[in-house]
């Protein structure tokens, strides 16, 4: 079974028709909505759906999508898995990377290594709190977010904010291969990697198993804790990777750049058809979810209305979109 047919279990009544089944797939829903929004954007302001602009939007979506990859894994692993600390890790990683690079290409490799290690470290702390102390993930990562925000303040007073290496900036925003920027390739590679991880490795099978029924997984010899800790570590590493890319995108690190990724990364996962309960879903949908979110946000930027109106429309639209996805089963079956 493909990981994308996840909606099946979510909605109460399934139709026998293969066509309807297909159309109900979150991935298909998201893609259709993306196209519809692009068309709407083009109608509102010509040029919105130009190839160039779509590419630029994809860059922004890639940043969100990379954070959402880790978020997705943690959510799939169940037991109310969620990682609110990703925003803090993104910021921390951007700062560390900037300082290790200081505008020098030679600094990229050490920066990537150190940042991934840092992300993994915070993920490890989250994972240990969740597994060994059995702190609910929302609580653990919320607390960790507070710690990370405090740490950012300390660090930013101690060391200057650094600059991205030119090669990194180029990688993120300039065409790299076949006219696509490197970050898009990176994102696609992550998409493939995630699909492979979830569908073709025992690790992936086990992620779904613990997400769906942890006790049964434990009784079948699945190393529950190890897997859950690994998921949080992966989440930290993806967030750190996103932090590095964000540094490349904006050229220099500053303030709490990552804060804006916390809840949107969760929304992207949900719009991608992975319910927060875990055990179902996959990353392909999440990629579409991230793109959908970014397109929606940028449409709202381009229409000339008050901020209040933008927020009202954004909030309401999100609600309407959610109706297409992860609605809980009706109590009455």
């Amino acid at each position: 079974m493909s990981i994308d047919t996840s909606a099946a279990g979510v909605s109460g009544n399934r139709s026998g028709s293969a066509v309807i089944e297909f159309v109900r797939k979150p991935l298909v829903v998201a893609l259709v909505l993306i196209v519809a929004l692009l068309a709407l954007g083009e109608a509102l302001s010509p040029g919105f759906a130009s190839l160039q602009q779509i590419l630029r939007l994809s860059i922004v979506a890639a940043l969100l999508g990379i954070v959402a990859a880790g978020q997705n894994l943690v959510i799939l692993g169940g037991r109310e898995g969620i990682d609110l600390s990703v925003g803090g890790v993104v910021s921390l990683s951007a700062i560390i990377a900037g300082n290790l690079m200081m505008g020098q290409n030679g600094g990229i490799l050490p920066a990537v290594l150190v940042c991934l290690a840092t992300g993994a470290l915070f993920g490890l702390a989250n994972g240990l709190g969740v597994t060994l102390l059995r702190i609910p993930p929302l609580v653990m990562t919320l607390g960790m977010l507070g710690v990370l925000q405090g740490l950012l303040v300390v660090i930013r007073q101690g060391i200057p904010s650094g600059r991205a290496a030119p090669a990194l900036s180029q990688f993120v925003s300039q065409p790299f291969l076949l006219g696509l920027p490197g970050i898009i390739w990176l994102w696609l590679a992550i998409g493939l990697l995630m699909a492979f991880l979830l569908k073709r490795t025992v690790f992936g099978y086990r992620v779904y198993a613990i997400g769906s029924n942890e006790q049964a997984a434990y009784m079948a010899g699945v190393p529950v804790r190890t897997i859950r800790v690994a998921l949080f570590m992966l989440s930290g590493m993806f967030a750190a990777l996103a932090g590095i890319c964000l540094l490349g995108y904006s050229g220099s690190s500053f303030a709490n750049v990552g804060e804006t990724y916390m809840l949107p990364s969760i929304i992207a996962v949900v719009l991608g058809g992975t319910p927060l309960a875990g055990g179902r879903g996959g990353y392909t949908g999440t990629m579409a979810g991230a793109m959908l979110l970014v397109v929606l946000q940028s449409i709202l930027t381009t229409i000339n209305i008050d901020e209040s109106g933008r927020q009202m429309i954004f909030g309401a639209t999100l609600l309407v979109l959610m109706l297409f996805y992860g609605r809980a089963k009706a109590m009455r079956g």
């Binding site: 079974m1 099946a8 279990g9 399934r14 026998g16 569908k199 073709r200 490795t201 025992v202 690790f203 992936g204 099978y205 086990r206 779904y208 198993a209 769906s212 029924n213 006790q215 049964a216 997984a217 434990y218 009784m219 079948a220 010899g221 699945v222 190393p223 055990g279 179902r280 109590m331 009455r332 079956g333």
Partner: protein, 500 residues
């Protein structure tokens, strides 16, 4: 007199047709038994009447008037009370609160009237006071109760509806004999009051002890209704099984254990939470039975041997080598297998494909990292066939199967790579007769092939028919061992009730 008629009730879950055509009539003053194999649609039919499942088609006629049952509340309002097979309790609420949860007595419609609540709950608790066991009181959170006690609470909750129509969907599956007897007394009294009662059980003796009429349901269709007095167990079984041919008679167990065989598992003075001083040996080729009233430590011992519970005294050897499992993972690596009767908790990974549910042990024992689905499917095929598992394709989610077939999948996962010792913890709980006989044939075959098997069963007949020796548990220790001709129902009951 109350009368409930159901005509042509139908319910499909996606491709699964849970109920094809449910016809059923129920009269006041009778206990109407509903029987059918796992997944035949009994619970679905009950839930339709209780309002918690919305039928695709069909009509319900109550006292001559057609009614629509819009939901559980509406059903209650129509005078229908139900015991749910999977229970409907709030774990952190107290026994009393749970009993009256559907209609909490309130002052001014706003504040809980504690006094009235306690008084009313006490009435139902009193009915079971002497059989409920330790730690059962009105203000105990349900969380702290044993499985049988929880089932009692669900029974009390159904009784508290004081409804003219009462549905009991497998209310006795966790109860001990005394509790069942008490429950049956109450049912008889209610019947006398003119209430209409639906009763579901997989235990044939219970059905014939309490039923007035029996309706057999097969593959989602009600096939026959007869007066209990005018039928007999084998007729009922034939109706349940349909044209699939005669059931194989339960295999008579060999008289004695193969004496010379190697010892697979030796346990010396094992002690832990819920059991003490347990000693026994299991030879390869032998099926050792655990018997006694349920909850006497049998499960705890098996779980401890599997590393899922701790033991703090005694020693274990596996094939002559010292063995202590720190976790199930550890046990599996040593070639020990464990099948729990509580499949929804311990066995099934809900919502995931059958394939993923069959393979975890294989992954672990072969240290597999990458998955090749086609190769895996080949591996899974054999065990699934051996168990006669019914499924559409191996990529379908396991929830699309009936309970019995789900349990077969859980068992199949142990058969890709054969373990040395198989621990069966009431593996047939809620499984239909056909599946049971398939399963025990297989278990016997596995033993013959050299496995050491421990079988705990809450059904005496099952144990007597399949175990080579039986250890009877009482209060956490073994009080008697039954061998050869000693394995009689009388001896088993006697030993079980001895110190109780």
């Amino acid at each position: 007199m109350t009368e409930l008629l159901i005509r042509g009730a139908r319910k499909a879950y996606g491709a699964t047709l849970a109920l094809r055509r449910g016809d059923f009539d129920l009269k006041g003053g009778e206990v109407h038994v509903l029987i059918g194999s796992n997944g035949s649609g009994k619970s679905t039919l009950c839930k339709i009447v209780a309002g918690s499942v919305k039928p695709d088609a069909g009509e319900v006629v109550l006292n001559g008037a057609p009614v629509t049952i819009a939901g559980p509340q509406a059903s209650r309002a129509l005078g229908i009370g139900i015991f749910y097979q999977e229970l409907s309790l709030a774990a952190r609420r107290t026994v009393a609160e749970n009993i009256l949860l559907p209609e909490l007595p309130a002052t001014g419609g706003l504040f809980v009237n504690r006094r009235e609540l306690d008084e009313r709950a006490a009435r139902y608790i009193a009915e079971f006071a002497d059989v409920a066991g330790d730690g059962f009181s009105a203000d105990t959170p349900v969380l702290n109760l044993r499985a049988d006690q929880r089932q009692l609470v669900e029974i009390m909750k159904a009784l508290a509806s004081e409804a003219p129509i009462l549905i009991f969907d497998e209310p006795t599956s966790a109860l001990d004999r005394a509790q069942v007897d008490r429950f049956f007394e109450i049912l008889k009294r209610l019947k006398g009051e003119g209430r209409a009662i639906v009763f579901i059980s997989h235990r044939m003796d219970e059905i014939f002890a309490i039923g007035d009429r029996v309706t057999v349901i097969r593959d989602g269709e009600t096939v026959a209704t007869s007066n209990i007095a005018e039928t007999d167990p084998s007729t009922v079984i034939r109706q349940m099984v349909g044209d699939q041919g005669e059931l194989v008679a339960a295999a008579a167990a060999p008289a004695a254990a193969p004496g010379e065989a190697r010892i697979a598992l030796q346990v010396d003075r094992l002690g832990g939470q819920g059991f003490t001083e347990i000693s026994f040996r299991v030879a390869r080729g032998e099926i050792l039975g655990f018997g006694g009233l349920h909850g006497q430590g049998q499960s705890s011992v098996l779980r401890a041997l599997f590393g899922a519970a701790s033991h703090d005294a005694g020693s274990v050897t596996l094939d002559g080598k010292p063995y202590k499992a720190a976790s199930p993972r550890d046990a599996i690596a040593h070639g020990v297998a464990y099948v729990s009767g509580d499949r929804s908790r311990d066995g099934v990974v809900q919502g995931r494909p059958i394939l993923e549910n069959v393979t975890p042990i294989h992954f672990l024992r072969n240290r597999i990292g990458l998955v090749r689905p086609s190769a895996l499917k080949d591996k899974a095929d054999g065990p699934l066939k051996a168990l006669k598992t019914k499924f559409q394709t191996i990529d379908h989610p396991i929830n699309s199967l009936s309970g019995g077939n789900q349990q077969k999948i859980v068992i199949a996962r142990w058969l890709i790579d054969r373990p040395d010792v198989l621990l069966l913890d009431d593996p047939t709980k809620g499984i239909d007769l056909q599946a049971k006989s398939d399963l025990f044939a297989l278990i016997r075959q596995l033993a013959a092939e050299g496995m050491g098997i421990v079988l705990y069963s809450s059904e005496d007949a099952e144990l007597l028919a399949n175990a080579d020796r039986i250890l009877v548990f009482n209060s956490g220790s073994v009080t008697r061992e039954l061998r050869g001709d000693e394995r009689t129902r009388y001896n088993l009951y006697h030993a079980a009730y001895e110190a109780a």
